[in-house]
Amino acid sequence: MYKLTTRTRAGTATAIAVLVLILAGLALPAVASRGAIQDLFFILTMLTLAQLWNLLAGYGGLVSVGQQAFVGIGAYAMFAGVILLGWNPVWAILLGGLAALVLAIPTAFFAFRLQGAYFAIGTWVIAEVTRLLIAQWKTLGGGTGTSLPREATSNILGTDLIRALFGVREAAARDILAYWLALLLVVVVTGGIYWLQRSRLGLALAAVRDNVEAARSVGVDAGRLKWAVFLIAAVATGLTGALIFLQTARISPDAAFAVTDWTAYVIFIVVIGGIGTIEGPIVGVIVFFVLRSALADYGSWYLMTLGLIAIAVMLFAPKGLWGLISARSGLHLFPVRRRLAGPKIEGGN
């Protein structure tokens, strides 16, 4: 008699648009310049990191300031796979995910004993300790870092095919491959988070975010859920880190574990766009990219401007730009609301 519905017209339209965008994205290297591909690679990897941080903070209530630990360890594991084990860089990316998982388990063990701001600081401290330890790894360049060997970068899986397909040079083929992998990663991560939200676990995550004690009182295992979210985010962040440094082909502890690049900017993207929604980081990364392009030549003024914008958004639009758009239009591109349909029910929410 009663029915549960989640489907909306906007959701169906979004699904079609996303499919078209993915296909267009795959075909884009045929017409786009190398610079455009590199810009898109940056946007896609930052979007992936932002969706993952949003999963942690926006859905799981885990405000981590130490996600650079997983970017860095993922990148270094990929370098170790290539340099020490002789793996092809594409396969070595998977090693990045595995290394991030191995680091995430003890990190969660210690950090979950802390709450709120202490959790945030704790994750940051763990990331710094990891950076200092990695800087002692002389085989991978110690504190000054290292580059992927020439024979490895010239022999990356799939680049021969890309060169033949698009008639480009080796470096450009590597960029295209990295871009396609970034596209794959962002689709899997965003799609995975959306699936998670629409699954039974999505309800549990929302319940824990809203009220942990009440969530436990209805049988939600809040502790296990937080572990799951933290580990999933760490693995995907590790894969993203490995991919980012596959594209640059050069690594150093300061670059791989940079709190500004891999956490502060990511938090900015999520806060500006709108925390706790899938649409928010998408809007946020576009705004971030535009600001970055426009203000790149202004040195520290660039960072101060980002900070001021973030403060203004937090004060006047705490749900971010997407929150404003959604409140005015009632639009939800990725609908997750379960609606009860049947007799005697009023429509609105």
Partner: protein, 238 residues
């Protein structure tokens, strides 16, 4: 017996908030708990639900020792509770609040819980507002949601913590009628309440707590006539 507490005690440092409590609740009974503020009523609830673990004593639910069992396990065994201050999942709708409780409290697929949730919403007069975000509800509706969400877990034992507090006389009457209907289906109820006329119209026995100790248990008329209870709880000089 559905619930049995044997010599249960809980202390925070030197402060004993539950002092050697022994009580047995038969299946299908409605038991009221009264006592002055700070008597340890909510702590006793937390001990039964597993949110707090006792220092001494034993707690049995459905014949099984649950003294050390975590709260989630007790929910799945059939202990449902409401909170004194309503704690809805504010970002979820009323229906989603129930769906979460049903899916995790009973364990099952969302799609299989829809009719049961709709039935509970109807019974608690929330069906019209099923798709309303819980954070926007009035106090009465938040109280109803507390009750509805606890029911959605499929409880054999329902613990109600001051669910009538802060309501108008008319609102209170409507809520009591709902609780009576739930009790009529032989759901066991333990109810902490300061609104005595509401409580006494439902429960078969009253338990009085003071400084964590049970100072009386019995039929509501007998308890209300007790000299000790009148002095301690009602503040009357006799």
């Amino acid at each position: 017996m559905i619930l049995r507490l044997d010599n249960v005690s809980k202390s925070y440092g030197a402060l004993k908030v539950t002092d050697n409590v022994t009580v047995a609740v038969p299946r299908g009974e409605a038991l009221g708990i009264i006592g002055p503020n700070g008597a340890g009523k909510s702590t006793l609830f937390n001990l039964i639900t597993g949110n707090v673990l006792p220092n001494e004593g034993r707690i049995e639910f459905l014949g099984r020792d649950v003294t050390r069992a975590p709260a989630m396990e007790r929910v799945r065994m059939g202990v449902g509770r409401s909170f004194q201050i309503p704690q809805p999942f504010e970002g979820l709708t009323v229906f989603e609040n129930l769906l979460t409780a049903a899916a995790f409290g009973r364990g099952g697929r969302e799609a299989d819980m829809v009719d049961a949730c709709a039935h509970i919403l109807d019974e608690t007069e929330l069906l019209k507002k099923a798709n309303v975000v819980a954070g926007t509800l009035s106090l009465l509706d938040r109280k109803r949601l507390e009750l509805a969400r606890a029911l959605a877990t499929g409880p054999e034992l329902l613990l109600l913590d001051e669910i009538a507090g802060g309501l108008t006389e008319g609102e209170c009457k409507a809520l009591v009628a709902t609780i009576r209907a739930i009790h009529a289906r032989s759901t066991t109820i333990i109810w902490i309440e300061h609104v005595l006329h509401a409580l006494n119209s439902v429960v078969e026995r009253l338990l009085v707590l003071d400084f964590g100790r049970v100072i009386g248990i019995g039929a509501p008329d007998e308890i209300m006539a007790s000299r000790e209870v009148r002095e301690i709880y009602l503040g009357l000089e006799v």
